[in-house]
Symmetry: C2
Subunit: 351 residues, 2 copies
DNA sequence: CTGTTAGCGCATTCAG
DNA sequence: CTGAATGCGCTAACAG
């Protein structure tokens, strides 16, 4: 509970000097600084974050907005961003915005109405900047982020007006689909797409890659895209539904490894052989994908998060009068490469 | 960027009235309150968290300290605590404290020296309370938490002096071990225990249950306990080592499902049959445990996190003059039940 | 190099 | 019911 005043009194200097000494400003005599530091430590003094941010206008905290924690992709992003920001002295405020339920598998619809909105109250005055993980943002939320005047980085497909880092999701869809087509599959279906109409919505882009590849091969999708969360539980639900419906496509492109593994489990439980009867491919390259022999499109997860964090740090710590920051050098969008990982859940049909 | 003063000026009242009106204090005329609220919304006014906490001494934020995010158990805890605290108006500061490397499999050792410490700077003045997830705390850290004077809840085995919620980890070890013993196994080994000497260390308690059960059955462990992280990667590393060492025990008790699944994968890759040659049991009941047919000791994860969050809310929101809080009714320790889930990775030896 | 003086934006006395 | 004044703890000019 010691305050700066206690330290000042005990040391015999002014609070201003204490403040300077403790922050390492060069304008303090070494002996003075040493004395201040000793007293501060002895008193267990820690500056009040509230007072500091009120005085400076900076909070030394960033917001981290995510729709999930227990999905591997997001967990790794969170770990990476937290470590990077903390190593630069920033605290991380975790804000979970569940995606909400959606009505499916109907036609392209708007965002689920029950999803909590990204309110400005969540962010403003509490953080200096924000990183948003692959959330399906509403137009109003994008507008709010712009209006806020705070730096925001989006990890996912390019969002108009937001600086983004991610992978080429259209290419992700293409890679997965082409792999199945080349194996000889003709009846393909896409699972975990998004019914979101905005063309930068993460999963929609993968779906576009899927559709494009089919078209180029003279095919059309065997059944409508399934809009669902990309979790094991959803995968199991969808898997059971596919079995019940019967007449399954021979190739399933799943938007995440968790989804794929859930689907495969239910398929096999019902006697459908994978990959002999049905081929399944995922996205991410989850640790369990390797254990399970799941074919997948791998993406660099930690790398994306690191780039996002680096951007934040750069923006928050104005370069110390170096060569003037070349605005043109700051690309608004960075895309990392993805790659196909062939394993045991895909094969030529009728093998 | 609107401040309370802007709202006051625009509404034609004092800042004090604005403050009262917006916080719903009863001492404001209804028409006045309505006007203030309208103006505030129109101006997009949001109170500054820094100013509020400087004035009130409360931050409306809690710290959430965890050693992992991508391990399922912790991810679920994080999601649950965040949701609970946010629904009560609290922000959540995420603090990841990696467990650090340890020297193994030597004799009981102290905490790994390279682990970042839980410094008071991380918490003090920034949060009103803290929940700590199953971290291997050092004695100095426990002392610091006490000295801080802030409420802290520990999710894990009972820590002296801290309010805790968890499961009976000794019983977890017992259940798993007894299952294998009853199947007829005589050469058992424990993986993922902790070389931490403090008897409340999470994994050590499971190990104690393991040892106790063996002793009661007239057995002793087939080989020294392995001290490692409870991840898939560690499981694979340990699995390869077991194969290389040869002469594997016929029963392996693993401290987490992730660890168990990693071990099993490497065992099978090397031609060791599970469960015919070696039985493996995990802990947690991870979603992938069911998919993989892993026998495990299930624990209620979200429930533990909910109880922890509820305690925090209770302490932070002093009951409004209800019946005086009965100190005796506040149990310092709560334990939730665990249960054995038999699946396909355990069987009688030589089956 | 160091001390003095103002606020940062809000909640809270205490008067009215 | 409302307003004016005070202070939360710190940093940032501005003097010295």
């Amino acid at each position: 509970m010691a305050s700066i005043e206690d330290v000042a009194r005990e040391t015999g200097v002014s609070t201003a000097t204490v403040s300077r000494a403790l922050r390492g400003l060069s304008s303090v005599a070494e002996p003075t600084r040493a004395r201040v530091q000793r007293v501060a430590k002895q008193l267990g003094y820690v500056p009040s974050a509230a007072a500091t941010s009120l005085a400076t206008g900076r909070t030394r905290a960033v917001g981290l907005v995510t729709p999930h924690v227990s999905r591997w992709f997001f967990a790794v992003c969170i770990e990476t961003v937290e470590a990077a920001m903390r190593s630069h002295g920033y605290d991380v405020l975790l804000i979970i915005l569940p995606p909400g339920q959606r009505t499916e598998p109907g036609p392209l619809a708007a965002l689920p109405p029950d999803r909590p909105r990204l309110e400005s109250e969540l962010l403003r005055k509490r953080v200096d900047a924000t990183v948003i993980l692959s959330l399906r943002l509403g137009d109003d939320e994008v507008a709010m982020l712009h209006g806020l005047g705070r730096t925001a980085v989006y990890l996912g497909p390019p969002v108009p007006g937001l600086r983004t880092v991610g992978v080429d999701d259209v290419e992700v869809g293409r890679l997965a689909t082409r792999h199945l087509v080349e194996l000889g599959h003709r009846r393909l279906r896409f699972l975990g797409g998004s019914a979101d109409e905005r063309d930068w919505a993460p999963q929609l882009r993968r779906y576009l890659g899927f559709r494009g590849t089919l078209t180029r091969a003279g095919l059309s999708e065997a059944a409508p895209m399934v809009d669902c969360d990309l979790t094991v539980e959803e995968g199991r639900r969808i898997g059971r539904r596919l079995v019940a419906e019967g007449g399954i496509a021979t190739g399933l492109v799943c938007c995440s490894d968790e989804l794929a593994l859930g689907v495969i489990h239910e398929l096999r439980a019902a006697g459908v052989r994978v990959p002999q009867d049905v081929s399944v491919i995922g996205v991410d390259d989850h640790p369990f994908a390797e254990l399970s022999g799941l074919t997948t499109v791998a993406q660099p997860v930690a790398e994306q998060a690191e780039i996002a964090a680096r951007w934040l740090v750069e923006v928050l710590a104005p370069p110390g009068r170096g060569p003037a920051a070349d605005g043109a050098a700051v690309l608004p969008v960075e895309q990392l490469p993805v790659s196909l990982v062939r394993r045991g859940t895909t094969a030529s049909p009728g093998t």
